[in-house]
Amino acid sequence: MNTVIALWMRGLKAFVRNKTGLIFSLIFPFFFVYVFGAIFKNDYIDNPISYMLSGVIITTVFESSLNLASSTVDDMVSGFMKEVLVSPAKRLAVAVGQLLSAATVSTLQGILILFIGLFIGIKFTTWITPVLILFAMICVGMVFSGVGLFLATKVRSGQTFQIIKTAVTMPLTFLSGAYIPLAMLPNLLKYIAYVNPMTYATAFFRMIVLEKTSLTNAELVKEGLAIDINGFIVTPVLSLIIILLIGLVFIILSTNSFVKTDFSRLNRSSNDASALWG
């Protein structure tokens, strides 16, 4: 348990200390809000700023949890993970610590954007909304921390991993409806969006932020908050269940994979690594 807390604190400290990283993590979301908000101003959406911000917040939580959990790879390359793994600390506790710290930091980033969003257009009519938002962000943070850690245990080289990560996050972000409404996508991309877990996370999260919980299915589809797959309506609640299931699978897979991974096989970037690892 102490190991979990220690690693969790480590993640939080690193986040607070990285001031430049923090500023840039705030600049990009608002840049996207501005650009895409201007492009997709249309009649379907009555509150474009809130609409865009909700998408941007959830993709930020998604990207940053994935990045942070998979930064376990950096810990392996830098050697820190070796210190952890040669200690009597339980590997399961290490995995949970990494997951929790990634989920927490990404949620904090989401909260920061939301907080700024309050000044530029997001409005809540009930106190339940922020509570639900927090809950949704933590869920999405945990889910994609699981995915990130899982990826981290599967790589063998730090450099290839950067490429894989971009190749995974980019399409998942842009084909989720967060920036570009699904209705505007060509059919092929639409089908890809249907199998993208981020599509469901975005729909669910957006419904909460826009406070559209009381709409009928048809209205939800019209606003892009429910997904209509050839007549089958995926409601926001169903979306949440899908997300949580995916998350559960990946959290189990990633902890299991982390406990079993033979980290001595990881190809460290420095040249004397081969000597080090025998």
């Binding site: 807390i5 480590r10 830098s78 820190f80 040669v86 009597p88 600390a89 001595s264």
Partner: protein, 306 residues
């Protein structure tokens, strides 16, 4: 003295390649033991297997009565490891690194502060405890790692090439700390090195080459067995010196401008010298070095640098 590390018939193979081939050795409690050998000889493989990071192919490795492959957790609690490359968290301060280590090793909370004081005092870093690791020099980082490896009071400290890549002054300091440590806490120190002069400070040495231990003894005994003292003599009268050395059965080699003579039978050499003292201009006696030992045993010089 009972052995704290006992390795029997240890073999480690990667596919067709056998990195370590059926080695056995013991390390006495409280001693400094060195593994000496060129890169790729199997030093790191052995140390990593003892530290429970690698899986053995066969054999038994016992540390402090616990098996390194079946009782990993117990072994991990009783050892400290300083790896060849830094394993510190560069984004954290020295103090935070040490505290985190204490958590991993279940050091009682109320003892943490006292132990931090102790280990940082040992490596002269008390004043830098709030500094970020990323701001430290290579030598300081190594000292932090040694301090960290000790803070949970291990019975055995493993040092994989503790001084590689450090300047001579820092190397000397690191050795000061290691020796101080052995004296003050009676810790067993197991290290690998390819610096010959470092091996000489140790109590016991095992020379490993191509996965096999080719010699295992005290530095003194190894030198005695594998090296000969040599005398380097410069003279104005070469032919006369040669004649005398043949007469007194001192073996020699003639070199460019000087003679290299066997100085093991010092009485015979002294007679030669006393008979030729008017002509001899310079004598230098050289003791055998560990390089000679290594050369003698493996037939090749150990690489001094990577």
């Amino acid at each position: 003295m009972k052995p704290i590390i006992s390795v029997k018939n240890f073999t480690k193979a990667y596919g067709d390649f056998t990195a370590v081939n059926d080695i056995s050795f013991e390390v006495e409690e409280g001693s400094i033991f060195a593994f000496l050998g060129p890169n790729g000889a199997g030093k790191s493989t052995t140390i990593n297997t003892l530290c429970t990071i690698f899986e053995k192919t066969s054999g038994t490795l016992i540390i402090d009565g616990k098996d390194a492959s079946t009782q990993k957790s117990e072994v991990r609690s009783s050892i400290g490891v300083v790896f060849q490359d830094s394993t510190l968290d560069a984004k954290m301060t020295i103090e935070e690194n040490l505290k985190m280590h204490c958590v991993f090793y279940h050091v009682p909370k109320k003892e943490v502060e006292e132990r931090i004081q102790f280990v940082l005092g040992l490596v002269d870093l008390l004043g830098e405890r709030k500094k970020l690791v990323s701001a430290l020099s290579g030598g300081m980082k190594r000292r932090v790692e040694i301090a960290r490896g000790l803070i949970h009071y291990p019975k055995v400290l493993f040092l994989d090439e503790p001084t590689t890549g450090l300047d001579p002054q820092t190397r000397a300091h690191i050795w000061e700390y290691i020796l101080k440590l052995q004296k003050e806490r009676n810790i067993t120190i197991f290290l690998t090195t390819h610096y010959m002069e470092e091996a000489e400070i140790c109590n016991k040495i095992a020379i490993i080459d191509r996965g096999v231990i080719v010699a295992h003894d005290t530095p003194y005994a190894l030198k005695k067995e594998y090296t000969k003292d040599k005398a380097y003599i410069t003279t104005r009268n070469g032919p006369e010196l040669e004649r005398l050395m043949s007469q007194y059965e001192v073996s020699y080699v003639r070199k460019e401008g000087y003679y290299k003579a066997d100085a093991e039978q010092i009485d015979r050499l002294l007679q030669v010298i006393s008979l030729q003292k008017e002509d001899i201009t310079d004598i230098e006696i050289k003791k055998g070095t560990f390089n000679d030992v290594f050369l003698e045993i493996t037939g090749k010089k150990i690489r001094e640098e990577e």
